[in-house]
Point group: C2
Chain length 377, copies 2
Amino acid sequence: MNEIYIKKISETLNVEPWRIKGALNRGSIQVLKKPFVYLVFRKELGKIERGTAVFFNDKDVVVVRGFPKIKRAFYLKPALMMFEKVAVEEKMDGYNTRVFMLNDKVYAITRGGYICPYTTKKLREDKNIERFLRDYPEYVLCGESVGKQNPYVVHEYKEAKDFGFFAFDLRKKVENTPLPILERRDILESYGIKNVRLFGIFDKKEAYKKIFEILEELEKENREGVVIKDPEMKKEPIKYTTSKTNTSDLRYGFSFPFELGKDFFFSRVIREAFQAFELNESEEKLRERARKLGESILIPFVESIRKVYKGEILTENFEVLLNNDEEAEELIEYLRRQGIVLMFEKERKNSNIKLKVQRFMQASYDKIKSFIEKGIE
Amino acid sequence: MNEIYIKKISETLNVEPWRIKGALNRGSIQVLKKPFVYLVFRKELGKIERGTAVFFNDKDVVVVRGFPKIKRAFYLKPALMMFEKVAVEEKMDGYNTRVFMLNDKVYAITRGGYICPYTTKKLREDKNIERFLRDYPEYVLCGESVGKQNPYVVHEYKEAKDFGFFAFDLRKKVENTPLPILERRDILESYGIKNVRLFGIFDKKEAYKKIFEILEELEKENREGVVIKDPEMKKEPIKYTTSKTNTSDLRYGFSFPFELGKDFFFSRVIREAFQAFELNESEEKLRERARKLGESILIPFVESIRKVYKGEILTENFEVLLNNDEEAEELIEYLRRQGIVLMFEKERKNSNIKLKVQRFMQASYDKIKSFIEKGIE
């Protein structure tokens, strides 16, 4: 990396040049080469978040800061005490996306900071986004990409069956400072860009009851949960999810029990225990919750063992619709670079290409196979 | 540690002196001073197991090797293939105890290699053990101490309500070589020492069916499981437990969810999943197993949160009956040295002393309290 650029990055981020060089040498900052040269922070560096990406235009560096990790409430009552008023927005189950303007084009990066060709292509189709970013080039549009058509998180939403983007933040490129909730919502709406749902801005005292009512509704509709925010965005938001989200995470996790860490499982059990406690559940309700918890752990696990026993492999499946071979190849190359074992199948569908992606769950497959063969660890 | 002793230990164990010195310096070999100087291997050193203890008599060193870790079968069928014939003995739910003669007295050490004053006292009361060890001083008598009266593992057995010792191995002091099953059982029986139950010696082919029949019976009686052994003890034994043991472990574990590791939880889930698979359970049976699994995780966890919320502390409680104050003080001092936070209460009962021990579950208490106060991690 050129000394001049390191100096510029250092000045822009206010991080000493030697720290940036060190991180580059260790690989904590990764140098990407496609579609052009850019940097991705794979670990946090001082105040600079993991997922921060640095791009280069003609004369300068363009920084898109990492999206801050949102803390989770396990027990809502005391967690709300940090706020005065709370804005309650929907937490959707998709993948975190940051959209911004670079060299006169729209780009979309995922949580980790990588330019995703698929998401970029889909969001470029939305001319409202381009129009907004041309007017506000210093902002990064942050939101959730959801729907059934993407290579990351499949969850059907009635308002966005195949693909949808719902904004939940507008942040300054370098400083990462967010706009107040209503201001952000108004600006985006005026450009025809959808925000995630706002359930209301509540007083600290009434919020508690309201949030559990909202969660009950969300649970019925199989929706994930809420993010609780200071309307001025001066305090850190917190997230809270429904019980169904917790058990459906577990059901997914225990389909591939050796892929995800033990922390993943344990954390969801903690959520369920504190929610049951907070709702002061009766013996009967508690048993019902326990039954669902147990089923979400054991049943997918046993199903996966049965699959491996029958000689099947364990995969997670996605499909995306693309316009042409070139787009397909670009996405395949991008996903392959993520370092996971993938199988692809292309299927022509009218003038489009349906790309079926299978992610091979190697760790779970190998471990289950070894148990089946040897019986012992 | 005196050079002469290091040389003797080195020769006896066939481990280079510098490795022993290194382990002493690192604390992997601990020097105990009570009731006299002895060494405990806190980590394995080459072929020498963790839990090995080295004592000194007038002229020589006396080595009691660590009890080898028994591997667990997750899926029984292939695990049995390693054997020709299998002896199936009961696995009892107590604590591993090794008993041996040193300087003309009987001593009992726990799994870790520490002399336990309580177990030593209890086993000295059994004159058959002393008689046997006088005749076979080169042997270590290995078995399970069980019952309701001990400071480690409380599980009531109808044949040993308060305290009982059941042998499952006879091993040479230095070499750690075990006697064949029937030979060990015969010798001990002739001295009036109880062995754990032997369910039979089976052919590899019939063993599979038999073991699941045995487990069904054990499950009904709330007993832990089996250890499957080569009758000649030339191969490593394997253990296998009932579903009720797995869920009761979980129920215990989730009463103190931040005390035991995530490995503890996950490992029991694996056991349940493979057992359900191996028994080829119907949808209905699988759901019933899942319900029990879920209840064993969630219910004790919520109960512990409720306790902390009400201002109670989380403790594990034991009680033991002792003859006098001196015995009580000795046990208190021994347990305190184990480095866990304990509260004691002495209660005079006729001429005896009932010592109530409460182990404070600090990690779970602190973590749950912090969640209750802050709501977030």
